[in-house]
Symmetry: C2
Subunit: 166 residues, 2 copies
DNA sequence: GTGTACTGTCTTGACATCGAGATACATATC
DNA sequence: GATATGTATCTCGATGTCAAGACAGTACAC
């Protein structure tokens, strides 16, 4: 029951148990690890994208368009839902991506309030290269985990995620 | 093999498989879920802290001090390591927390380069209240997962996290 | 059709973060 | 004890994000 701590969260939980033995800190075992791992992943992603001169936020938008398939075109609203950012942020992102020549904006012919954003040739090439590089890195990060464990892990995470995505 | 998508990541993976059948996108099943779940958790935490008039970044610093135990005092360097932010960020955070009367700064008597930051009475009360509230919320978020699954999940996450925390 | 509520996008201002560098002090080596 | 290297903290400028609100256009009820 009193094993050696292996990661920062083990130490964190042990510290809380010493300080507040009256509280059930079990949820931290899962949720603090999710948060901390995400923070580390952000850094790893940043490094992977730097090889292709892309910022993480640029990659986020470009991949959303890439996944949409030909003609690689979505509305800002759809991009907002895909990336979980606010509308102000998305406007700003599209502005800068357009300026960098990676995306293009055009009026939506079916809704005069609307706009459609699409990948340029250059944007498509960049995102494909960066995505392949990201997958290589992520594959390495998961190398320590057998495939069956990865499946178990993703299934459990899905259970937690489903309520948010409904 | 062709189940219904249950969360956004299932849809994301399906979209990639349609667009890039040549790539092995399996790593996304785990790592995209970690990132997205962390993003949702950030929002939930923000809401939980708002009840106690605390920002997430304030909570991060205050809990690090709280966990340290009496006299609830750490150096900025120790706080940096605990919170994974840069030194410039931590200076700024301590400034504002001190201004809000939640922490106190004093020179380190043993190292004249150094500073020690400690919780005030008010800071201690606020962080204890906010932490209890957070645990309640996190407990609810995990309600859908039996304890044995939570244990499995945290063990798998620990495996991924250990290389970063070494 | 007219009024009302809703939707989609953009604008603005405030803010927390980062990275690079500056400064002061400490420690190790000779 | 002088020099060089390392450590702890802070300063500064740039940047990406958010929240709130503005504005144009759409949809629905009557």
């Amino acid at each position: 029951m009193n094993e050696e701590p292996q990661d920062e969260v083990d130490r964190l939980v042990a510290a809380w148990r010493a300080e507040r033995p009256d509280l059930d800190v079990e949820p931290l075992q899962v949720l603090s690890r999710v948060s901390r791992l995400a923070k580390h992943l952000d850094r790893a992603r940043r490094a992977a994208f730097a090889e292709h001169a892309l910022e993480p936020w640029e990659f986020d938008v470009l991949t959303a368009l890439r996944r949409a398939g030909k003609p690689y075109e979505l509305s800002p609203g759809a991009l907002i839902r895909a990336t979980l950012v606010t509308s102000g942020t998305m406007t700003n992102r599209i502005d800068r991506l357009a300026q960098a020549g990676l995306v293009r904006r055009r009026p939506d012919p079916e809704d005069r309030r609307g706009v459609l954003v699409s990948l340029t040739e250059s944007g498509l090439a960049r995102v494909d290269a960066a995505f392949a590089g990201l997958l290589r890195r992520e594959h390495d990060l998961l190398a320590g985990l057998p495939l069956t464990d990865q499946r178990t892990l993703s299934a459990l995470l899905r259970t937690l995620l489903t309520p948010f995505d409904s």
